[in-house]
Assembly symmetry: C2
Homo-oligomer: 334 residues x 2
């Protein structure tokens, strides 16, 4: 049995990407070369940050190429290993093709942080949790009593940020797009929420939700919601720019108000989680402790079957997911 399926980029989208930009191919299961491991994919991670890779331009992550496979963070089970660290049955996290099976350098793999819940390696105990952790604590620098506003707050990263800000003693305001999401944010400890789809005036809504002004803004979204938050920042406020999902599908750079950060001495800083790689272990340990103790909870939206991977990805731009969006490709030990 050498059956295998993988997704390739069929075309580069202009503006909104669609199902037609993806193509599922049947291929042979690869043979692991020297030092490689054959993994069977259990979960693939999709995130909005993949959208820029559909463009043909330089970024911190390489572009996807037309007719070539897509790549993702993934969790899998080792089927066959030519690497001394790994044996059949091991659960590993790494980066490989959107495929049912892939041959991966053993060196690039890590054990999943929590064997009983391997999917967390792509969420709260993976890049998602790390992005929240370093973006909030290192870039946002919250102190107890401050007001932290999070956009995209019911998404993968945002929902962890809400909880980490609560743990830091902050008053948290979460912005999301449905009442269901807002209710969940309240459960997670948000003191106020804004359902932006149900709000006529973002400015008033932010002012009401953050009556003492905004000290830290963790931005996953960009665009007009961000404008409203930035109009309400306090002196010496910090803005951690994690993502700008509202802007990713634009072909031309969107226009917006030119900001004058001087009066409030606001610091706006983009960050990329891989810059903090030397402290990943410490952060994962803390996140795992909090997760196991129930101080940080995780929710996911799971698409079943590799054939739904593009839909799961496209749904991110409509806010279809609550918490981390995963694609479950196989069950462990099937």
């Amino acid at each position: 049995m050498t059956e295998n399926r993988q997704w390739v980029l069929a075309s580069r989208p202009e503006g909104e990407p669609g199902r037609e930009d993806f193509r599922l191919e049947e291929i042979d299961r690869p043979e692991p070369g020297p030092g490689q491991v054959l993994v069977r994919t259990l979960y693939l991670s999709v995130d909005p940050g993949m959208r820029p890779r559909m463009r043909d331009r330089e970024s911190y992550a390489p572009s996807w190429q037309v007719d070539q496979p897509l790549w993702a963070r993934a969790v899998g089970e080792v089927v066959e290993s030519d690497h001394p660290d790994w044996a059949a049955g091991d659960l590993v996290v790494g980066r490989w093709r959107w495929a049912e099976y892939d041959a991966v350098e053993g060196e690039s793999l890590r054990p999943v942080p929590l064997e009983s819940e391997p999917g967390t390696a792509l969420g709260v105990l993976g890049g998602t949790g790390l992005t929240a952790y370093f973006g909030l604590y290192d870039v946002g620098e919250p102190t107890p009593g401050e007001t932290v506003v999070v956009s995209g707050a019911a998404g993968a990263v945002g929902s962890v940020v809400v909880q980490l800000a609560r743990l830091a003693g902050c008053r948290v305001v979460g912005i999301a797009g449905t009442d269901e999401k807002c209710d969940w944010l309240t459960d997670l400890g948000a003191a106020a929420t804004i359902n932006y789809r149900d709000t006529d005036d973002y400015w008033d809504a932010v002012e009401e939700a953050a009556p003492e002004g905004v000290d830290v803004y963790f931005d996953n979204v960009g665009g007009e919601i961000t404008d409203a938050v930035l109009d309400n920042v306090n002196d010496h406020s910090r803005v951690a720019v994690c993502g700008q999902v509202a802007l990713y599908n634009a072909e031309e750079t969107p226009e917006g108000p030119r900001r004058m950060y001087q009066r409030t001495r606001t610091r706006v800083e983009g960050f990329i989680v891989y810059d903090y790689e030397d402290r990943f272990d410490v952060a994962i340990d803390r996140l795992r402790d909090w997760y196991v103790a129930g101080d940080v909870e995780s929710r996911r939206t799971v698409a079943e079957g590799i054939e739904h991977a593009p839909d799961a990805f496209l749904g991110l731009f409509e806010g279809a997911n609550i918490g981390k969006q995963l694609v479950q490709v196989a069950d462990r030990g099937d």
Copy 2:
């Protein structure tokens, strides 16, 4: 002889301010009260940061009020003192009315840092130099070998930044509006200059002047020049937002491209020099040493006579000044 003249705000301008927004009044010379000092103004400082004070809105500096006197940083000679620290003939720097004489709290005055050149207390050895010093070193954080771009580079703050960046071992690119200014910047140590009034394509000009990209951008200007610089920033670049003179006269917030700082992890930070007050003494000592040694030079444009104060201020928005713009109100010991 109790003659005195002072400028008041005649009206709040909409858009570009004009001469008609100012009115010169003849008033009595004030009597210093307890703890006060009567100063005779030698120099008044005008700077673009005064423009926001013409609006009726909250900022870190109080608004000017219609029919009320304007305020400025100033250098003067003590005429009469009711404060133990000051005696007639002392040269002082402080903040008082745009007037020939004013009664000022003795407590708020400082001696000029360099008696032989009292006007430097408003330029390289005053707020101007301090703004350059803390904005570049604390916010910009340049390291030797990096490329530092300065807009408004031939202005008061900009021309000091160019020199402080050179002292820090950086490659400096200065942006200014005339060839004469650019030539001066080259004399000050700029490796490349851009005359933005003589440039069709800001983007190309920045790319050519900073072929290895921009590590630090010290922005005095805002607007389209800033867009071009921000399109050429390197990873982990820093932007010190000192002023945005191109935007000060706009009634509506101008629109511009929405920036994605994430890819380059750029940090954009507004700052206000008064936040660094506890380190002013150290900075002034260093600036004075450099100035006396000839490592940092200072140039000024001086308007003669208090009647020209509004013209001097309005000229700032046309780039009429090279270096620091001062108004000389009287000669010492006249």
